[in-house]
């Protein structure tokens, strides 16, 4: 089903020497504990910010006809497909919010 597709994993996002800003923010804000879900959280977070920027609405977007804006509610809804068994959610929200350029 993905023959010929290009797939970017966490390894393709950044390297230990040259972190992606989202990876750096997760480290700074301690957005993980065991690390099991972290690659997915980071890849999703990068995609979520892109989706907001490109105008994709979400379940919590107030209007369908105006561009969605980053907010904690938008972030929580859009990241809801990524489950963290250890409950690092509040620090993840802080990390993504910083990368989005908004005050936490």
């Amino acid at each position: 089903m993905h023959e010929g597709s290009s797939v970017t994993t966490i390894e393709g996002l950044g390297t230990p020497e040259n972190l992606h800003p989202m990876q750096a923010a997760f480290i700074k804000h301690d957005g993980y504990q065991c690390g099991y879900c972290t690659p997915g959280q980071i890849c999703s977070a990068v995609a979520v910010l892109d989706e907001i920027k490109s105008g994709v609405p979400s379940h919590v977007s107030g209007s369908l006809t105006t561009a969605p804006e980053f907010s904690a509610a938008e972030l929580r809804e859009r990241m809801s497909g990524n489950i963290c068994r250890r409950g690092a959610y509040s620090n993840i929200v802080e990390a993504v919010t910083e990368v989005a350029g908004r005050p936490a």
């Binding site: 089903m1 023959e3 999703s44 995609a47 979520v48 989706e51 490109s54 105008g55 994709v56 609405p57 979400s58 379940h59 977007s61 369908l64 006809t65 859009r78 809801s80 497909g81």
Partner: protein
């Protein structure tokens, strides 16, 4: 471990032919429902027909002022389409109310319509289920059934179709375009596409092979957004009161 064969087809008619000639074959597009069921061995397809890349991923205006939504348009793309957001708000809202971003990015319009009618007991292979094994009984009836069908069910099965999008399409009186092995297309009113189980088990109602869906066509809905908002609210609050079975 159950082995299966896989083929990629290059036209919708070829897909319909492969689906009708190969026993126990299933179309795979996004795979968001089929893979889950396959892992649990509830679906044990001997053959998968990959229908991705058939060019059915476009949303086009119709001469009548509606939209023709290709079978392979992903749920995210449909919900985010500017025309859908403006004129078919209930469709966008219904899509965004379901699943997660990852699933919506993969799930297709036709796959959403054709996903299995189901309930938690259908997924629990330790429980008897008339849908999985006709005649074995139904654990949902008398079980934890708060979210299952109240009306439009049968005495054998109270599972519901999980699609919010299908409810919106029904409210919009959409038409489903299908193609058969002879490459002839058919138009099926959405009201006739999903069927009530009657007095049979759901499994019997679903025995008919899934048609090769090409597109879903909606009528002109411009300027009817107020109606859309009303319907959307009733959809999310009461959708479990409706139950539909796919053909």
């Amino acid at each position: 471990m159950k082995s299966f064969t896989y083929e990629k087809v290059n036209s919708p008619a070829a897909a319909a032919t492969a689906g009708s000639t190969t026993g126990s074959a299933k179309f795979i597009a996004g795979g968001t429902n089929l893979l889950d069921l396959t892992k649990l061995e509830i679906e044990t397809s001997a053959h998968l027909i990959d229908v991705n890349g058939l060019g059915l991923d476009k949303i086009e205006p119709t001469a009548e002022g509606g939209l023709r939504i290709g079978a392979l348009v992903r749920n995210t793309a449909l919900a985010a389409d500017e025309r859908v957001r403006r004129d078919y708000g209930l469709l966008s809202r219904a899509l965004l109310a379901g699943a997660s971003g990852q699933l919506r990015n993969k799930a297709t319009t036709a796959g959403n319509l054709l996903q299995r009618t189901r309930c938690p007991y259908f997924y629990d292979t330790n429980q008897p289920c008339n849908k999985r094994t006709p005649g074995s009984g139904c654990s949902a009836i008398g079980g934890v059934a708060r979210s299952l069908a109240v009306i439009g069910a049968s005495e054998a099965c109270i599972a519901t179709h999980p699609s919010d999008m299908a409810v919106a399409m029904r409210a919009l009186d959409a038409t489903v375009e299908t193609v058969g092995p002879d490459a002839r297309t058919r138009a099926i009113a959405i009201a006739d596409f999903h069927r009530l189980p009657g007095d049979t088990s759901m499994d019997l109602a679903q025995a008919q092979a899934a048609p090769g869906v090409l597109a879903i066509v909606t009528a002109d809905n411009a300027g009817k957004s107020a109606r859309a908002v009303t319907i959307r609210r009733s959809c999310s609050a009461g959708r479990r009161l409706s139950t539909i079975t796919r053909p």
